[in-house]
């Protein structure tokens, strides 16, 4: 079938999956015990005010009515209002998602470039001690809990050595600019260093191992030998031919990883005080702020499923052999 009809089929699947996710998320939060207003209202507020607020939230309406209203609102792009701050959920997402994306995409970029480089090196120099140590480092990276390394990093480099700021995206009192302005300042990147390194160390292992195993498949191929016969230098073969072919499976993995990365790393964002979407989701879940939690979850799943789709299409574009 042609590329177009394949894409359409995949899109239809995408819509069905997202619809299933939305329904699951909706009911998941409605089943949650606990009264959402309990969090919001400080000890000052008396019971009478609280009763009125519960009615205003429409929390007491029968489930199916709430569900229908929910689906209607999603279809016309309105994800509802936060119980906590009454902000439209879309605005909450627009506030926090970019911060997460900036951090996570940089971290993924760094992690994947290092991972792939080391993967190519490990795959090429098989059986060398270099390969074994590279793999060991990669696996240790994936075994340290990211939040634990994050806290240690803050204490060693932040508090003790004072090289890097300990929290947030901008220096204290230096805020006020939009994310696009901040990105240009050096101060912003100084804040990015520690979280990106911690995340890169954590994410590096996965691409490295994939790249290494696909390199090992490729290294044994005939055309690599032929390139040598053609007199192509070892380095050129490693990068131009071996890595290029070995990249194919890694691309799918990268696309999927970016999908997940968009969700931000909840723990690292909390520890670093990074105003990301991951931290906001956990806060929303803990304070039973249904609409915000639903909205963020919905965006997460849509991004992840979308990136799966992109992974397939991109794979086809990279690998001429694939026909739909």
């Amino acid at each position: 079938m042609s590329k177009l009809s394949y894409a359409v089929k995949r899109l239809a699947e995408f819509v069905v999956t997202v619809w299933a996710l939305v329904t699951a998320i909706f009911f998941a939060f409605r089943v949650m015990p606990g009264d959402p207003t309990a969090y919001i209202l400080s000890p000052y507020l008396d019971a009478e005010a609280r009763q009125q607020i519960i009615e205003n939230y429409g929390v007491n309406e029968p489930l199916h009515i709430q569900y229908v209203k929910f689906i209607q609102s999603i279809l016309n792009g309105n994800l509802g209002y936060s119980f906590h701050s009454n902000e439209p959920v879309t605005e909450v997402i627009l506030t926090y998602l970019p911060n997460s994306l900036v951090l996570m995409l940089t971290a993924t970029l760094v992690a994947y470039s290092i991972g792939i480089m080391l993967g190519v090196y490990a795959g090429w120099n098989r059986d060398s001690t270099g390969e074994k140590s590279v793999i060991f480092v990669a696996l240790t990276g994936r075994s340290f809990p990211a939040f634990w390394t994050a806290i240690l990093a803050i204490w060693v480099f932040g508090a003790y050595l004072g090289w890097f700021p300990m929290t947030g995206m901008s220096s204290i009192g230096g805020g006020g600019e939009s994310l696009s302005e901040q990105i240009l300042t050096l101060e912003f990147w100084r804040h990015m260093v520690l979280p990106v390194l911690v995340l890169a160390f954590y994410y590096m292992g996965y691409p490295l191992l994939i790249m290494r195993s696909s390199m090992l498949d490729v290294v044994g191929e005939e055309y690599i030998n032929l390139c040598r016969a053609k007199g192509v230098s070892e380095r050129a073969i490693m990068f131009k031919h071996a890595a290029r072919n070995a990249m194919l499976p890694t691309i799918t993995a990268t696309a999927i990883a970016i999908g997940f990365a968009a969700g931000g790393n909840v723990l690292v964002e909390t520890v670093f005080g990074w105003p990301g979407i991951g931290r906001e989701l956990v806060d929303a879940v803990l304070r039973r702020d249904y609409p915000v939690a639903q909205g963020i979850f919905f965006v997460f799943s849509a991004i992840v499923v979308f990136m799966n789709l992109v992974a397939d299409l991109v794979y086809g574009w990279f690998d001429p052999r694939v026909t739909y």
């Binding site: 005939e222 030998n225 032929l226 007199g231």
Partner: protein
Amino acid sequence: MLQVNDLNVNYESNEGTVRAVDGVTIELNEGENLGIVGESGCGKSTLAKAILGVLPSNGYVDAGSIEFRGTDLASLPSSEQREYRWEEISMIPQSAMNALDPVYTIREQIIEAVDIHRPDESTPGEIVDEMFRLVGLDPNRADQYPHQFSGGMRQRAMIAMSLALDPALILADEPTTALDVIMQDQILKRISSIQDDIDSSMLIITHDVAVVAETCDRVAVMYAGEIVEQGTVDQIFGKAYHPYTLGLQNAFPNVTEPDQDLISIPGYPPNLADPPTGCRFADRCPMATEECEQESPSLEQIDAVNGDHLSACHHSDRIDTELRPKAEQAETWSGGVTQ
């Protein structure tokens, strides 16, 4: 042009060191085609790879030299060796399907070879077109990917690539094995016609006796890493003076005798990790004696023949009388001739 003397090539594997090529001496004159015949695993493609210096990571030249027009390639540092590759000596691999990089077009892969050796070449694309016409392929198909070519076309594209820098020597490692018979015939005709135009010589490696007969001037028969017999095509296929060569000829159908039943040589080639003493063909050779088992025969001139026809067999003189007449009966091979 090419003088390989006493070449030893070893492979390191977890079962120990395997000597895939053991004391091989061959020579190839300008414009001449030499065929190397033998069962798979006898070390012939290792020989080819050794000549080009593209042995796999666990293989290395242990002893001996590979003189190409006077310079010993084996002793050159790899950077200088690289200059010879494809410029002077090029290769046609067994199955072009995996020998061509799937993610680049054929044109790009040929141009890559040209750029390395002739960086100042202004119009590499033309070389590609010219080569494609030479092998009978439509030039503007060069911009397609390998998987878009059929088996025969891929092999011809490979040949085009191997001729791109009109090398002095072309190593054809089983060039037609992966093809069906008709395509084989076309490719062989194509190779011989091209050879007349560009007067390069060829080293053809195959297990298919017929291919050698058709395209080569001289033949060397390899068994278990050693050259067991060497001579012109007519000498070897006319009157072979080594039991293994005789056995080999039985194993191939002969068009002229349709009802001939094929006789295969019983037993298996020896394990090259710990080769047997004496002649390696001894335990499968119907004429084997104790002498064969103790002492390994060396290549000597067969005195019954004029012109250089060498054979490594202690009893080459008794072949005419005892083996040749019975060579075509199956029981000779299974029962053994003399005990």
